[in-house]
């Protein structure tokens, strides 16, 4: 398994007089891996995701995705934002096929629709193609955002707190679905979250970040077997891993006040 994302000593400061947003970040994501970035809000984990997506450039250091420094297109790297960010004037189906429309030739619309339909099925959405985003619940909108990310079968999925705004039950449901999708259509995932349970449940590896400046405190390998079920969360192994992540986070708070 090769390396897919490589972050080398990346530093970024939005303003000169504050502590840098990100300070000397090193991170490697392997092919097929699902990695969760955990940290307090304001530790720059979302910023790191935007750097990898190519909408920000680091002040120092470099980021390579598939060994390339320039931003990749949606077909290779796609993005699921926190609050779905769908276009309100487009029906669900037209939102999902938007990445294809932006990167394809006009006239392929029929083909796009078929692909968008397939992506919607993958995230368990049926019969909502012709609805507008505001007619859907938060969980459904987030599923649409997920379908949009999956529509061009990208090799890398960046997920920026995709489930943060959802209720606990919907969130658990989506956790199971995202693992199901990984089995059906494998991808490399990098997800930002501040929910430790979510991170441990979903990830192969959890990387813990601290704030002011944003930096990596350490990582925990999650050796729990697949397929994972919700009851896994009540096992001692799961609790031990959550505890380990919490210890790392606490270490960040102590060193942050020195």
């Amino acid at each position: 398994m090769g390396t897919v994302i490589e972050v080398n000593d990346v530093t970024l400061a939005f303003t000169a007089h504050c502590a840098p947003e990100l300070d000397g970040i090193n991170l490697v994501v392997d092919e097929g891996e699902f990695l969760c970035l955990v940290g307090p809000s304001g530790c720059g984990k979302s910023t790191l995701l935007r750097l990898i997506a190519g909408v920000l450039t680091p002040d120092r250091g470099e980021i390579k995705v598939f060994g390339e420094k320039k931003p990749l297109n949606w077909a290779r790297l796609s993005f699921v934002p926190q609050d779905s960010l769908l276009l309100p004037w487009r029906k669900v189906i037209d939102n999902v096929l938007l990445p294809l429309e932006l990167n394809g030739r006009p006239g392929d619309r029929g083909e796009w629709k078929v692909k968008a339909q397939a992506a919607l099925h993958l995230v368990n959405l049926h019969g909502v193609e012709d609805k507008y985003p505001h007619q859907l619940s938060g969980g459904m909108r987030q599923r649409v955002a997920l379908a949009r990310a999956l529509v061009s079968k990208a090799e890398i999925l960046l997920l920026d707190e995709p489930f943060a705004a959802l209720d606990a039950l919907t969130r658990s449901q989506l956790h199971l679905e995202i693992m199901g999708i990984r089995q059906q259509a494998p991808f490399t995932g990098l997800m930002v979250t501040h929910n430790i349970f979510e991170a441990v449940f979903l990830a192969d590896r959890v990387v813990v970040m601290g704030e002011k400046p944003g930096r990596i405190l350490g990582e925990i390998k999650i050796d729990l077997p697949y397929p994972r079920e919700l009851k896994l969360m009540s096992t001692p192994e799961f609790a031990a891993l959550v505890g380990a992540v919490q210890d790392l986070l606490a270490k960040g708070w102590c060193t942050g006040h020195e």
């Binding site: 909408v55 796609s78 934002p81 309100p88 004037w89 507008y132």
Partner: protein, 261 residues
């Protein structure tokens, strides 16, 4: 006049409510008019007779209503047509905005009533001067709303589209324009209403026909019933424009209409 609103209304309740309001207004008006002579407050009947008279002469709708309608519509199209490209430029180039906006504010500060006589001197008593006055009044709300609308794009959506691979052109047509539409339509609604005011003001300053001219002419002869006829006709036009914009909104932005419900 009430009937026109009613036919556009959706739902039985709204229709009945409108009818009731109409009946009450006319009843109160009829009652009040018994206290005053006709040249102060003509009765609904007197106004209806005056309208019928004018209608029979063939002047009300074919000449006066049409004249004002054409002036207002052409003025709106000219004003909005000039405002839209400028609003795009101003929204796109903040530096140009800083240069142009003071000038725009200064021109806007001149009351159109004060500007109208000048336009009549320059462009004559006919259609041209009225269209230009109406265009000037419609221009500013469309411009302002255009700039505000085009700038109101959600930066997170913009970033999202960039990640999806959208270029500048695609961001403009697929994001900035659609997200500006609700605000832009607010500007159209205001501009169209104002263009009627502009046309009427233009007719006050010198004209041979139009609903504004009717008011002006009737004032001179104390023909108060005729003033009421012209005012009602203007109200009908205003309602018509309102419905037109609402219909266009529903056609162009179906997602927005659904949102309100």
């Amino acid at each position: 006049m009430n009937k026109r609103v009613v036919t556009s209304g959706s739902g039985r309740e709204r229709l009945i409510a409108l009818l009731l309001v109409g009946i009450v207004v006319i009843a109160v008006w009829a009652w009040l008019s018994t206290f005053y002579p006709d040249y102060i407050l003509p009765s609904p009947g007197a106004v209806a007779r005056r309208a019928q008279e004018l209608f029979r002469q063939g002047g009300l709708f074919t000449v006066h209503f049409r004249t004002t309608l054409v002036e207002a519509l052409l003025g709106f199209l000219l004003g909005a047509g000039a405002a839209l490209p400028l609003s795009y430029l101003l929204a796109r180039h903040p530096r140009l905005d800083r240069l142009v906006t003071p000038v725009v504010v200064a021109i806007q500060a001149i009351p159109i009533v004060a500007l109208a006589p000048l336009m009549v001197i320059w462009f004559g008593f006919g259609l041209t001067s009225k269209v230009i006055i109406a265009a000037l009044t419609a221009f500013f709300p469309v411009l302002t709303n255009g700039v505000v609308g085009l700038r109101a794009t959600d930066p997170r959506l913009k970033e999202m589209l960039k990640i999806m691979g959208a270029g500048k052109r695609e961001i403009f047509f697929k994001l900035e324009v659609p997200s500006a539409l609700p605000v832009l339509f607010g500007g159209f609604r205001m501009g169209l209403t104002l263009s009627v005011i502009g046309a009427v003001v233009g007719e006050f300053s010198g004209a041979g026909r139009g609903l504004g001219y009717l008011v002006y002419f009737a004032r001179g002869t104390f023909d108060t019933a005729l003033i009421f006829v012209a005012l009602l006709a203007l109200a009908v036009m205003g309602i018509g424009f309102y419905l037109l914009i609402s219909w266009l909104e529903a056609v162009v932005m179906p997602w927005h209409k659904n949102k309100d419900r």
